[in-house]
């Protein structure tokens, strides 16, 4: 973990006389006091909340006739009130971890309530509706309490919505209006992430978007879609990465994610283009495009954004290999396979070393 590495580095600097011991201790103390610091206890508490909620959901699913329905509904409603008020009480006293766990329980109880009503009245064919309703309830809670934990639950529910659509075959056709709701849910989650400072949860939302685009392409494979992925990804990448762009400030606050995911979408678009391409010229164009975009990604943000840099390296290396085998592979046979692989890997290694060294110098110069 970052804390362990930092502690080692600080100790080294203290030993070298670069840093007084008092400053090093103060720095570590400041880090430990941060709210976002990873804490095993907090994670275990959230897991306990999820396990308890699972037991609640399973209890509802067992359709236990010994208790009349009205009693079961009242019980679930009572749990909703109990968990939210207990959560508020603990949050008010500054016990963030317990409060968050209770809020998770409250949101899961709401889901149990929706499932229970569905069971009571034998509702069918609207699992996606139920998911949306649950998502809305979770968003309400996340916004009202500014809770990062509940925001993570909303992200999971947005994923559950997509999976429900997969399950019910709702992705088969683009006329299903629910299909188009998925990016809207992702945008809502991203807004909540910003508002509640939920940090890493944003990756769930970005991955949801990328998965959704993938599903869109699998359902409607076509040249125009591949081109639009590529173009839109490229534009979004430049908007997020160029310091001159109006969105640069906003994107920087979200860390390296906006650049990385838009870069990934552009790459996916180009890979799709390559699979669509027929004929030597078209394939070569798509291949050169992939190489160019990999180099462009490394050149534009590689110095500041490790994720984009490594994706760029990977795309570049794989594409070179692919092109080498498409063009020369059949002529050279098995021994040539290793010959070319070796040469390509050596070439890429040379490039990576040059690029990394250059970025190192740029970093030093700017310091």
């Amino acid at each position: 973990m970052y804390r362990g590495r930092m502690e080692r580095d600080l100790k080294r600097w203290v030993d070298l006389g670069l840093l007084p011991q008092s400053s090093a201790s103060a720095m570590l103390a400041e880090y430990d006091a941060r709210e976002s610091t990873f804490s095993v206890g907090r994670v275990l508490l959230a897991l306990a909340a999820l396990l308890l909620s699972a037991s609640l959901l399973l209890l509802v699913a067992a359709n236990w006739e010994a208790l009349p329905r009205l009693v079961r509904v009242s019980g679930v409603v009572a749990l909703i009130w109990l968990f939210h008020f207990l959560g508020a009480y603990f949050l008010g006293r500054g016990a963030k971890a317990v409060g968050s766990a209770l809020l998770i329980l409250g949101t899961m109880s709401f889901g149990a309530g929706i499932a229970l009503v569905g069971q009571m009245y034998h509702l069918s064919g609207d699992a996606a509706d139920a998911m949306l309703l649950w998502f809305a309830g979770a968003c309400l809670s996340a916004a009202a309490f500014a809770s990062a934990a509940v925001t993570t639950i909303t992200a999971c529910l947005a994923w559950a919505f997509l999976i429900t659509l997969f399950d019910s075959g709702g992705l088969v056709s683009a006329v299903e209006s629910y299909f188009w709701l998925v990016p809207v849910l992702a945008a809502i989650v991203l807004t909540l992430v910003r508002y509640t400072n939920a940090g890493r949860t944003r990756h769930l939302a970005y991955l949801l978007c990328v998965t959704w685009l993938g599903a869109l392409y699998v359902d409607n494979p076509g040249l125009w879609l591949a081109i639009s992925f590529c173009a839109a990804g490229l534009i979004a990448f430049l908007l997020a990465s160029l310091p001159r762009s109006p969105l640069y400030g906003l994107a920087c606050e979200a860390g390296s994610a906006p650049s990385f995911y838009s870069f990934a979408v552009a790459v996916i678009g180009l890979i799709a283009l390559q699979s669509e391409a027929e004929g030597v010229l078209a394939e070569a164009t798509a291949g050169v495009g992939l190489l160019a975009i990999a180099l462009m990604g490394i050149g534009v943000v590689g110095a500041r954004n490790g994720a984009v840099r490594y994706l760029g390296y990977a795309v570049f290396a794989l594409e070179i290999l692919y092109l080498a085998f498409e063009t020369l592979g059949s002529i050279l046979g098995t021994s040539g396979f290793f010959l070319i692989s070796g040469m390509v890997v050596a070439l890429v290694a040379w490039l990576v070393i040059r690029v990394e060294r250059r970025f190192g110098r740029v970093g030093e110069a700017s310091r």
Partner: protein
């Protein structure tokens, strides 16, 4: 990085708890009442339940029911079929037959007028794909009454009865055409009666 959160200025946890719990309760209450009102005010309709593919019979703890009215012949569709792929709702007019069960007499992709001797039931929204050049196919709408949740382990009884064509389901349909299962019977003897709440 973790300065005061934007919401912290107005945020009082107790107010938030009150708002969230009250709204979530209201949503559940609305869901319950919207279904209970169908049971309370809807018109009685007796439907024969038809067997489905046995592989689909039991999923978890509910039984999948299909009905004679789950297959609608395009011949009785008034006003024509949609010509483009669309998200459609089918309205079906049911009338009581000589044997006491209700059957479809007319269907439409737009609303149908209410009459005293018939009941109009509406399907859940579904995707309609017109087949170019082919004769129109039998429509297979769902009405939201295709599931029946049973206590753990009781699904088999219903399955056997349904496979023997002995299952009849009494539903109530409100003026909007929404249906709710009220009673399930095997060979005319009632097995489950749904309470309002």
């Amino acid at each position: 990085m973790n300065a005061v959160l934007p919401g912290a200025r107005w945020r009082n946890p107790l107010v938030a708890a009150l708002a969230v719990a009250a709204l979530q309760t209201a949503v559940l209450g609305y869901m319950i009442e919207s279904r209970a009102s169908i049971l309370r005010n809807g018109k009685d309709v007796l439907l024969r339940s038809a067997p489905v593919d046995p592989r689909d019979l039991l999923r978890g703890d509910y039984v999948i029911l299909t009905y004679d009215i789950s297959r609608i012949s395009p011949d009785i569709v008034a006003g024509g079929l949609p010509e483009e792929t669309t998200r459609a709702v089918l309205f079906v007019r049911l009338r009581e037959q000589a044997d006491g069960f209700w059957g479809p007499v007319e269907a439409s992709f737009g609303p149908l007028a209410q009459t005293t001797d018939s009941v109009v039931i509406r399907s859940l929204p579904f995707s309609y794909y017109p087949l170019l050049g082919a004769p129109p196919q039998t429509l297979q709408p769902n009405y939201g009454i295709e599931r029946y949740y049973v206590p753990e382990g009781e699904g088999r009884v219903l399955e056997t009865a349904r496979d023997a064509h002995a299952l009849s389901v009494n539903v109530r349909v409100n003026t909007d055409g929404r249906a709710q299962i009220r009673q399930v019977s095997v060979n005319g003897a009632q097995l489950y009666v749904e309470p309002l709440y």
